[in-house]
């Protein structure tokens, strides 16, 4: 068993009085493609966002590639640790969140140049390589406004990859897309997975989970209720709530 890239221990998260994550523990080994599914409000996005501290965990420990951040770390040390964790993680958002005032290429080199202090030439070479691999190099001088949703999301994936992260976090990457544009994004994600990237994907795309994931986690009311391979999960779901999810997916497919 390879060492876990992401290790979450006894994570709790409250929004005010609302208990959205309840004592969640999870280990994600290197090169694993993990899909997090569950109904909306189940806490799956919050769990993902706790990994790179876009949400502050209330209790528990987040560990990414050996960098351990207990929730009660404070001040300067905490800021440094969170910064280190963010350098190890790449994130893709539901709403793409490309920078509208920068061209595609500028979007992709922004992280390496500003954050890592990489030389511009080197960053551009790396960015162009990644844009090529998501099939967006031909739009490198366009502004995001002129791209379709699927194209924006592919650029966003290239932007995250160009930071050379150890793990990629996808937060419902196809939920804001028109149905006919979902395929191109899923194909790029498949490609990234095939290149050996560790991926944690919050998604409603059961098809993607079944086809690409090594492991599927089901969340409900802030807890992980099922942890299985896609085959096990789709053929033999254990929990009733998982069965309901799978049935809904099956009926949608039929």
């Amino acid at each position: 068993m390879p060492l876990p890239i992401v290790k979450i221990s006894n994570l709790d998260k409250y929004f005010g009085r609302l208990h959205v994550l309840k004592d969640v523990s999870l280990e994600v080994p290197e090169r694993q493609v993990l899909c997090l599914i569950g109904r909306s409000g189940s806490g799956k996005s919050t769990l993902l966002r706790c990994i790179n501290f876009l949400e502050e965990p209330s209790h528990g420990i987040i560990e990414v590639d050996g960098i351990k951040v207990p929730a009660d770390t404070k001040g300067k040390e905490r800021r440094q640790l969170i910064h280190d964790v963010r350098l190890k993680t790449g994130m893709v958002f539901q709403e793409f969140n490309l920078f509208p005032h920068m061209t595609v290429l500028e979007n992709v080199i922004e992280g390496p140049v500003t954050v890592k202090g990489m030389e511009k030439d080197k960053a551009i070479a790396l960015a162009e390589q990644n844009l090529d691999s998501v099939g967006m190099l031909f739009k490198k001088d366009e502004y995001p406004m002129r791209l379709s949703g699927g194209q924006k999301q592919r650029v966003a994936i290239a932007r995250a990859l160009t930071m050379e992260p150890r793990v990629m976090l996808f937060d419902e990457p196809t939920s804001a897309l028109d149905p006919e544009l979902i395929g191109e994004v899923l194909n790029v994600m498949k490609k990234v997975a095939n290149e050996g990237m560790t991926m944690i994907v919050v998604t409603h795309e059961m098809g993607f989970a079944r086809e690409v994931a090594d492991r599927v986690l089901v969340m409900s009311e802030g807890q992980l209720i099922e942890d299985a391979t896609p085959t096990e999960l789709f053929n033999n779901p254990k929990d009733d709530r998982t069965k309901a999810l799978i049935d809904r997916y099956r009926s949608g497919e039929a």
Partner: protein, 282 residues
Amino acid sequence: MASTTDTGKAPSSHVELLFQAQIRKARQFRINVGISWAVLLFLLIFLFSGKNIQIGSFTFETIQLDSEFMVKNASFIAQGLSQTLLISFLSIFLAMMLALLAALGRLSTFPPLYAISTFYVSLIRGTPLYLQIFFFFLALPQLGIVLPGIVAGVMALGLNYGAYMSETFRAGLSSVGRGQREAAMALGMTPGQTMRRVILPQALRFAIPPMGNDFISMTKDSALVSATGFVHEVMWRATKVGRAQFNNLEALIMAAVFYWVMTLVLTFFQGRLEARLSKGDK
């Protein structure tokens, strides 16, 4: 354009006709507005022409201006334009700095910064600009602080406009979605980098058109500085020569023309700027 080749010729030409009619209508409207403006301008000039019109037994008298006075003093008043523009440019620059700081303070979670920002905006917006200008010219000297006229004027106008413009900046900063900040943070940017590289450029683009409007109104509010008698801008010069020779009517009309023309020119450039900025949005 209606280039619907697949729907056949008839509907296409129909669409084309409607489209042409729409363009014609818009053009006609612009022409009519232009003509009406010309008529109004002509009437206004005629009102001050000194000519009398006899309609039957009724005589319509227009106002006679002292053209000799106007010719003699036009350049004296016009020389104030450079001062007016100088005050306006310096003041808008100061105002922008203050507005940005106040807006950042207003969005800060650090209580003293938030307090300083809201205190400043409340104090300035709660008192008249006229009073603030006199405060810098008349009240400060009592404390032994004597500022050169232009410095005092710029400080008063800058402080005042900064308070109002901070709202524009704040709106600009809040117009940048939360996702932008999150994307920057996820890349590992520090809060400072996020502000400089991601938030501010977008906020400024949002705030520049209204700031252009503020600048244009500042060129006119700079006239208030004349009341103190220390800055020789357009208004000061107009009142000076007007009072001296009891030709206030002519002097003020000339000043008004200068302000109006200046505003028209600035509005033209502001329109161009706005068009250019909105182009980047598409």
